[in-house]
Symmetry: C2
């Protein structure tokens, strides 16, 4: 069973935005046993869109289309799909209600182009888009499925999760697919592969192991494909346990959740609290944590102490420490973490101070030097990392290393 | 002049990685006047790659291909290109030298597959890849240019910048392309379109206007294509000024930079300082600001005050205020912002307190209710927003609204 993804819109072709939708969609499709044959980005041009639809239909059974559904005249996806299928238009009353409600909620007057968002090709099934005014349209054309969705990521994701994926599962006989993900940290991809080589070689043909490295972590994903879901689950579980036993403390989470979610789950269960003291990560760790609903049971808050002054006033770092050792030093980061535990009255705290770059490095402390400390009410420990010279990556890798340190520490203290 | 980009490799089609290469390449091509007609991602499959090459050649003059050049047996781009062009292979001595040097530097033994990286289709021009072992191959086939590059981003970028783009400029007579982006906030896409309809209709055929909406902001992009760059710049500037005059205070930035960068630029120029006091945005505003190099000249830091206690201890919010009005209230957010200016000793501060959801809403304050305040040393003003019920989007929209409020305020005070 093959799908193709077509993204419509000039913004991708002029390089204004990176197409993150396609990777997300491809991942979800693979998870339910639908392979993606091709991803195609085309411009808002009728002839070109029609050619792309035609070619995709020749290669795949499912064609998912995003973009080009806005109210302005450069958005021509809807018109082009109707032309491609030889359909006329009808006004969809449910869509009109949805659009009217959205405008009422925003307290904005509706104009003619907004009303026309409710006009859809008369042969499609409309799937209501609760998060926006552009309707999602499902076409069943000679047994091939075409779905046109808005390109706004959260609208597309919600529609995929709630509507499209369940309908695809119901429309086709798909194999059962069972995945199991193990999150590791502290060992590179090739070393991991070496350590579990015997297990990998013993895998039967219907079970695959993928290495997904990112930011100093490697996710190991076992994927089994077959007829009986329960059998597959048991098989995957057996191999997963072998891998976990082999990799021991390199295993951070025996599940497909991000590090900060694993931390929140463990701390919630044990009624522990956490705070943060961030310099070079600039609030990114706090942001990762507070993305998750229910984090307030664990997370009290923290300091983004960019300046020397705020490291002193918010965290109680001694001026002497800063002047003698500098902001990026073991001494400073230890005081930051201990200060956070004390001032924010939490069980644990993590502190990060480093040189994210691109400027500010010295021979002794080059760009990419990052100190991270984890403190409890009893003690505090620090570690230094040497990352590269890219600012954004340094921020992300620092956050990832900090979360790894917290989780390792929590496992030591509370397992 | 059209180009197409073909990315080869399963990792994109299974959603393992996001294809950031294509957007980068498309941007560089557009800047030198080469439009990208289509971006296509295909798997490591001979028939599929050959079909993609064939179709791309029918639509475009330049075909840039990335990926599938590794030493392992799933990498078949080189073999497939030779087959497509009906070429044999020759050993390229320069490439062999490069590969040998790289292995010597890494102190690793070379094996047969590494030596075979120096075998190239005999009709191509080899461009040396200084950053890796896979050679870059340039084919001139009946006046159409095909370039096969490695998919590793930094290898591809270096080759594009140093070799491919200069050679393309030398190979074709390219038009000049001029873009101008205006960032607006506070008015939806369709209302913007209505307000500038007369200007849009007056645009000549060679100037296009695009609407790029995101998180309550809309970017307006004028793109002009023609022979004389100076003439185009003047034309685009004229239309941009008409749009700016028409939209007045809805225009946030007359340039293609994110809001927080515009804030940093304005505040750096005027030697002003900023701090943040975040509750529901949980450090996300701080993160947006601190992504940018040089932010420390403006940004002192801030509080992520998730708990009542930290709102009191870090920002000086009165317990009475919290108990009487609650954390999500005008009174609390005013005290948070004023407290940040005072405690963090900055010229300005922004504070956000809201209910990001999915839980925690009440009839009076439903999920999505967000109060935002901006304070200077002189006064403080707050505004309430009603967003939706999605946590991540509420965080993003709150940050976007907060940044819009800061920038509007700065423009009032310092224009």
């Amino acid at each position: 069973m093959f799908a193709e993804i077509i993204t419509i819109g000039d913004e991708i072709l002029i390089g204004q935005i990176v197409d993150t939708n396609s990777a997300w969609m491809a991942k979800q499709l693979n998870l339910i046993g639908i392979k993606v044959k091709q991803i195609t980005s085309v411009s808002d041009d009728e002839a070109h869109i029609m050619e792309a639809l035609q070619l995709a239909e020749e290669r795949a059974e499912i064609i998912l289309i995003t973009g080009g559904l806005g109210p302005t005249k450069d958005d021509i996806t809807k018109l082009t799909m109707a032309k491609h299928f030889g359909m006329g238009f009808r006004r969809d009353e449910e869509t009109l209600k949805n659009v009217t409600n959205i405008f009422a909620r925003l307290n904005r007057p509706m104009i003619d182009v907004n009303i026309r968002q409710a006009d859809v090709p008369d042969g499609c099934v409309v799937i209501q888009n609760k998060n926006g005014t552009a309707p999602c349209m499902w076409f069943d054309h000679h047994g091939k499925i075409f779905v046109s969705m808005p390109g706004v990521p959260h609208e597309m994701m919600y529609l995929m999760d709630e509507e499209i994926l369940p309908r695809l599962k119901a429309s086709f006989e798909l194999p059962s697919i069972v995945h199991k993900t193990i999150l590791t940290a502290g060992l590179g991809e090739s070393f991991l592969a070496q350590q579990i080589a015997a297990i990998e070689e013993s895998l039967p043909a219907h079970i695959k192991l993928a290495y997904l490295p990112r930011l100093g972590q490697v996710r190991l994903r076992l994927s089994a494909s077959g007829a009986n879901e329960e059998v597959l689950k048991a098989e995957v579980q057996t191999y997963a346990q072998q891998i976990i036993a082999e990799l021991k403390s390199y295993v951070m989470v025996e599940d497909d959740v991000p590090l900060e979610k694993a931390i929140l789950d463990l701390m919630t269960a044990r009624k522990l609290t956490l705070s943060t003291a961030e310099s070079c990560t600039g609030g990114y760790i706090a942001h990762l944590i507070t993305q998750h609903p229910g984090c307030s049971a664990v997370y009290a808050g923290g300091a983004v102490s960019y300046s020397y002054e705020l490291k002193e006033s918010m965290l109680g770092v001694k001026p002497d420490t800063l002047n003698t050792f500098g902001a990026v030093s073991e001494q400073t980061v230890l005081e930051m973490a201990a200060g956070a535990v004390k001032h924010f009255n939490t069980d644990y705290a993590v502190a990060v101070s480093g040189i994210a770059g691109p400027d500010g490095g010295t021979a002794e402390k080059p760009v990419g030097t990052v100190w991270i400390a984890v403190a409890s009410k009893i003690d505090v420990q620090a570690k230094v990392f040497k990352f590269g010279n890219k600012r954004i990556q340094n921020i992300e890798r620092s956050a990832s290393a900090a979360l790894t340190m917290i989780l390792s520490r929590l496992k030591q203290d509370h397992n």
